[in-house]
């Protein structure tokens, strides 16, 4: 793609794509950290997992701050932003990503239940929390990842 041929809407969409990639990274980092904290049992492992989770959360926070303070500010009422948000190709890709993410989440439920419910022998509050965290992380990262794939140039 020739950047000089870009319309203002193209530039907005490219900037949004970069933000989505950062959001995907943050989701995976925070989710992994959360799972590490919940799954760790026993004092030394729990301290280690908590430290890892805090580091991952800090990295995620730095990534978010980087994208929040750097780059151009977009006016949501601007014509190029409105054109981009109403774009049929964009909306079609969001719909496809949503359907794909739903399928991924549904298909993952039984394998997750087997892993966390039977193979790992988690305690009563741990099991549901781990399931919820894993489902949320898989759903959100699938949605974002599939959209980035479908929407590629």
């Amino acid at each position: 793609m020739n950047p000089s041929a870009d319309t203002p809407s193209d530039r907005f969409l490219r900037y949004s794509r970069q933000k989505l990639i950062a959001l995907l990274a943050v989701t995976l980092l925070v989710g992994a950290g959360g799972l590490a904290v919940v799954l760790a049992s026993g004092e030394p492992a729990e301290r280690w997992a908590t430290n890892v989770a805090l580091v991952l959360a800090l990295v995620a926070l730095l990534v978010m701050v980087q994208f929040a303070v750097r780059g151009r500010r977009w006016n949501p009422e601007a014509a190029e932003v409105q054109v981009a948000l109403r774009d049929e190709w964009l909306r079609s890709n969001i719909d496809r990503a949503s359907r794909g993410a739903l399928a991924v989440v549904l298909l993952a439920q039984f394998p997750l239940a087997i892993v966390f419910g039977y193979m790992m022998e988690l305690s009563q509050p741990q099991g549901p929390i781990v399931m919820a965290t894993a489902t949320f992380m898989i759903g959100l990262s699938s949605q974002i990842g599939l959209f980035l794939w479908f929407d590629r140039e």
Partner: protein, 74 residues
């Protein structure tokens, strides 16, 4: 009846009028990526979008978009 597909002549119509994808996108009020997706067959436009593209190219919509019915193999 075979499978119906939408055939478009957007690229030809653009070339006749010396328009880039970005030019046509701005005239039709859409992004260049939508124009590219339609031209490469990855997306079938809605009726509204097809009419806006035809108006931007100043031709009837049937000139730009048509049904391309393929026959199944015998």
């Amino acid at each position: 009846m075979g499978e119906s597909r939408v055939h478009n002549t957007m690229k030809v119509q653009r070339a006749i009028r010396d328009l880039t994808q970005a030019d046509l996108a701005e005239l039709a009020g859409v992004t260049r990526r939508s124009i590219n997706a339609i031209e490469t067959g990855r997306m079938v436009p809605s009726v509204l979008l097809a009419l806006r593209i035809a108006r931007a190219l100043e031709v009837p919509v049937e000139t730009v978009f048509s049904l391309d019915e393929t026959r199944p193999p015998a």
